[in-house]
Subunit: 282 residues, 2 copies
């Protein structure tokens, strides 16, 4: 394993070959017929690799994308990349491959594995110590056929994230058309209420985050009762501690939600520390 | 304008340059942040060009994609293609362009215009004289923010279209999560009931087809009352005439919906003929 200077050029592979462009007939472009995973990579090791892959496999099953030998093919791809020391980001896109004009999946389908290795985004304002968030007006549709998985149809997230500009607000919380709070535009939502670890149910929409699942396990280990349910904005506002999570940011405590202030609480700090330890170990 | 032999190679342009591949950081691939239009081209002329472009502009506004000079840029692109005599298909994809990892649209965004010119699909079994259709189990979510426009998030259509194989059934009808019939997987639905021209409301989901709009105008001209409403499967089943439409197929009469048989009725034939005339004239 080689090391690279800090400012790295993106490295891109398609099906194991160096390439930075994909054919115009790819179903990922035409219909969003594909999935993606964003890995934090530490010293050349993708963190929570198996957990990301399990979600990818669930998505393949849902979208009719063949996944034979996918694990070993990705493993081979990963060995062709040159990793910097420390942290970087690996984005894996799996599309259903090329296939004519119609919505019908070609038989056999030839999925395209796209790997993009880039440098870690920098957050000079220490968001791990607390961020300000807002409510988004964009509401997520209810579509159980697509909920939980990380597919390429992300227009709702694009609309929600474009509701604000500037760096003061780091994330927006999104409700669905029923009025329940689901997640952030790029993160999962967790909060502590009267000693319970709470996170929204994702059976109608939202993405089941790898870090969300890890935090649920860690919460149980730390003696917290874990509750997955439908929550209104008022439920979230009345929480004792609020935090957001994803694979790159880990845990970001929320210190302000619109005009409501929150302290970075003991459960948030404890889970954040336990997650950091688990990320380095895995 | 040159002519080409019948079996043409696809011609592809990206922003006016010959290219058959798009960069991996394009937001069309990453999030489906884009739109598309499928034009029938007759003797080098895209049919209902302005109507397609108006839908494209509506989509741009909805998705925050800049559309300055877009019409004239597409006109310039169109002049770089070599058209066969007779009919062919032009697919235009407009993405929000390249833009990093995040959902936030880059400022300024540089949209990508993708043109793909291919030969006309062949239908040797004369579907213009009647097709068999089925019900799909896939239900469309209700998302008014994305309804009507022809965006690149088409996983629901992919799921619905993959519910059946074989060529006996040519199209599937899709309901939404409220239980209302919305459209076919690749077509709009119209039906005649007691002398009224009926087509589902598309304020919650579905694509506002260019041909659907043309047929609504033609129906008025032919003295039919036009009704746009929410219809149940039973409403459709009890229709006197049923037909499907899109830019490539024109009008396909439905002669069987599951086990129910329908005649190709006089209104269907009359609208089909009027549409054909308008397509050639425009």
């Amino acid at each position: 394993m080689f090391t690279l200077p800090l400012l790295m050029q993106p490295q891109t592979l398609i099906n194991g070959q160096a390439s930075d462009a994909i054919g115009l007939s790819d179903r990922g472009l035409a219909y969003g017929h594909g999935l993606f995973e964003t890995f934090l990579v530490i010293d050349g090791q993708p963190v929570f690799y198996q957990e990301h892959l399990q979600r990818l496999f669930r998505g393949c099953k849902r979208l009719g994308i063949p996944s034979d030998c996918l694990d070993s093919l990705i493993q081979q791809d990963l060995q062709k990349l040159v990793y910097p020391a420390g942290r970087c980001v690996l984005k894996l896109i799996l599309t259903c491959g090329s296939g004519g004009r119609g919505y019908l999946t070609p038989d056999p389908a030839s999925p395209a594995r796209i790997l993009i290795l880039t440098s870690m985004p920098e957050y000079p304002d220490s968001p791990e110590d607390g961020i300000r968030v807002r409510w988004c007006q964009t509401q997520l549709a209810c579509q159980p056929l697509l909920s939980g998985i990380k597919h390429l149809n992300r227009l709702e997230q694009v609309l929600a994230r474009n509701e604000w500009h500037g760096t003061d607000i780091r994330e927006g919380l999104v409700c669905d058309t029923r009025g329940f709070v689901i997640e952030g535009t790029m993160s999962n939502l967790c909060f502590i209420h009267e000693g319970r670890f709470c996170t929204p149910a994702l059976d109608q929409n939202g993405i089941e985050g790898v870090i969300r699942n890890q935090l649920m396990q860690l919460a149980v280990q730390q003696g917290l009762k874990v509750e997955v349910s439908n929550y209104t904005p008022q439920d979230v506002l009345s929480a004792d501690e609020i935090f957001l999570c994803n694979s790159l940011i880990g845990v970001w405590p929320v210190v302000a939600l619109e005009n409501h202030q929150y302290a970075v609480g003991p459960h948030t700090r404890s889970l954040q520390a336990a997650l950091t330890q688990r990320m380095v170990q895995c």
